[in-house]
Symmetry: C2
Subunit: 372 residues, 2 copies
């Protein structure tokens, strides 16, 4: 047991630009605070991993994270804010388990691998209607309003606001006459969240919010009242809400880091400021694509281009691979496209620094000049 | 972005003796390593929270944690080792969801609040037979062999090896002719794990193994084959096994810390050594109870006394409260008994240092002398 104060020498490893699609970069001030809090949360003499989830210290952590989340998203008491486990994937099951039943229909706007998975889960619980099917266009865009055709009376309509693999993003939420559920795992809090039109917003933390192992679920409480009543409590949103995310031991460290990220977002100026910053970051890379004279080709259609995942290709798969390898040698990792589609992908979530986008754009210019 | 090496001054807060029933103390070398790895995992330049779960660095973390777990528990390839989310509570649902169905019966040995919860979950899926019911003895002991009465053909028999609230622990697993499932959340790897007689062992990490937010599930693969086939993949053990705990993004940080704890356990001499150490730690406190001339009263019957949670009472609830308050003033926190039963409880899991048990025993002597 360490009982004296001392100074810990910690020579720092140089960090690199990590373009990973998730888990992804976190703000360095957040990492530094988390390092301190592992040893002792404030002056409690007990680290954040070791505090009882029923004690005052963690209660304050949880309350702070929830309050900051509510401020950032502009959520009133009509919204539940839940910190759950199981990733967005468990939500793929929990949402239909709670709201869809045989003889009823849920509508899904199919825009890529993540909606495909959500759709497959939902089909076990009731009917699924594809209100948009992007398979035929290889998911190169999100639907225009005219491309959306709802079923007669959907219990909800599900969409994925940002698609990490194709690199597409809705410029604004689809306007549909149904309780709207958004899988915002890959762009949550990367721009203002227009919750007003939504029944639920779910987001795995590990791209824009914090560590893997926690899922943020925002849900209108009047919508949750529609859920079936015979589920095990751990799979019942209302039970989690009634217990303030402490139905069982919550993922305390992930929640704490998310709270630190929320604080960092507020310090950056909030979600409007993040939207401007993220758009500018992405534009640096899209500009490099557009000025390459056709050497680089963007995967997503204009109008659907993501500010979180910039997908592009060189003239060949060989050059794609060479690009990723050379970039890694320049301390830029994670640029290979998803294994299912190939190509290149720069994932530049909230915490990814603008300097990394400039560095990548410069490298793209240089690479095109050498290989174009 | 930090790009230069420097020395980080980190004056350390003095840590206290944390008797929390969970989340609970972790080994300090583990915390120190985790602090470093938040900034950069080895020399990768990317922190453990930020690595892709599909990359080589995290794959090595996961493989190391699994290998150490297998060595500690003596598990061959007939066992699946899974790192899941949702806590033991989700396991309360997943086990019957996978193995119990209407018309079949699962047996539960009811020894306290945690089996009560597990039983309530199971009843939604099929018949539950209480092969032992400790309600009548206020859970002051775990069943003797003669107290166990199985049903005719249980699909499994569930028990909780250590009961945190009453402070009881099975000296050895119950011997029953049924696939045995152990909720070992509060004593896993606190002593050798006799897996041979078991079909599954489940354990939330946050007491003996690491951070909240990860559940270790050990399961015989031939038993998993008995599970129903129509579950959503995220609730299907075989799917998690097929994907090596990466069916979706796993709780990477918690797994990493668990791997560091497994390494620490091996460095301490393994589970036999931990059993000796934990027994000696608990004995320090039980001795203080027994030599107090009746001032302190142990809650658990001899033969069922836990080496993880020592439960006891002073002559009055007022003195119990005073004890906890005075102990806190002496840098010993978390000694209040569970809110449902009152009294006092010293939770002294694997990472709790022997010096803390000596300090508590000395304090107990002093408190009894002053108030006896």
């Amino acid at each position: 047991m360490e009982t004296t104060s001392d100074v810990r020498p910690a020579p720092r490893v140089k960090r690199i630009y990590n373009f990973s699609p998730g888990p992804a970069m976190l703000p360095e001030p957040v990492l530094e605070q988390a390092q301190e809090d592992l040893w002792s949360l404030g002056d409690t003499g007990i680290g954040i991993l070791e505090h009882s989830h029923r004690g005052a210290a963690f209660a304050a952590v949880l309350a702070d994270a929830e309050a900051r989340c509510r401020r950032l998203a502009g959520l009133g008491d009509e919204w539940a804010v839940l910190f759950l486990q199981g990733g967005a994937t468990l939500q793929f099951a929990m949402v239909p388990m709670n709201f869809l039943s045989p003889g009823t229909t849920a509508d899904y706007l199919h825009t890529g691998a993540w909606t495909r998975k959500a759709i497959a889960y939902a089909r076990a619980y009731g009917d699924v209607h594809l209100a948009f099917d992007g398979e035929s266009c290889a998911f190169d865009h999100v639907p225009e309003p005219a491309e959306i055709a709802l079923s007669a009376e959907p219990v909800y309509a599900w969409y994925c606001s940002n698609n990490t693999i194709a690199g597409t993003q809705y410029p604004s939420p689809p306007e549909v006459a149904a309780p709207l559920i958004c899988d915002a795992s890959s762009d949550v809090f990367g721009r203002p969240l227009p919750v007003a039109g939504h029944a639920m917003v779910i987001a795995g933390a590990q791209k824009n919010l914090g560590p893997a192992g926690c899922t943020l679920v925002l849900a209108r409480r009047d919508f949750l009242e529609r859920a079936r009543r015979d589920l095990p409590p751990i799979l019942d949103y209302r039970q989690h809400d009634a217990k303030g995310s402490c139905l069982n031991t919550p993922p305390a460290f992930a929640i704490h880091v998310m709270g630190l990220v929320f604080r960092w977002l507020e310090e950056q100026g909030g979600l409007e400021a993040m939207a401007r910053r993220n758009a500018a970051k992405a534009q640096l890379i899209y500009d490099a694509i557009d000025r390459s004279g056709g050497f680089y080709r963007a995967v997503a259609r204009p109008g659907s281009r993501s500010s979180m995942n910039v997908t592009f290709r060189t003239p060949s798969a060989d050059l794609d691979a060479r690009f990723a390898d050379e970039a890694l040698a320049h301390d830029m990792s994670g640029l290979k496209g998803h294994r299912s589609v190939g190509g290149l992908r720069a994932s530049i979530y909230n915490a990814f620094p603008p300097s990394g986008c400039r560095t990548l754009a410069d490298f793209m210019d240089d690479f095109a000049a050498r290989h174009g």
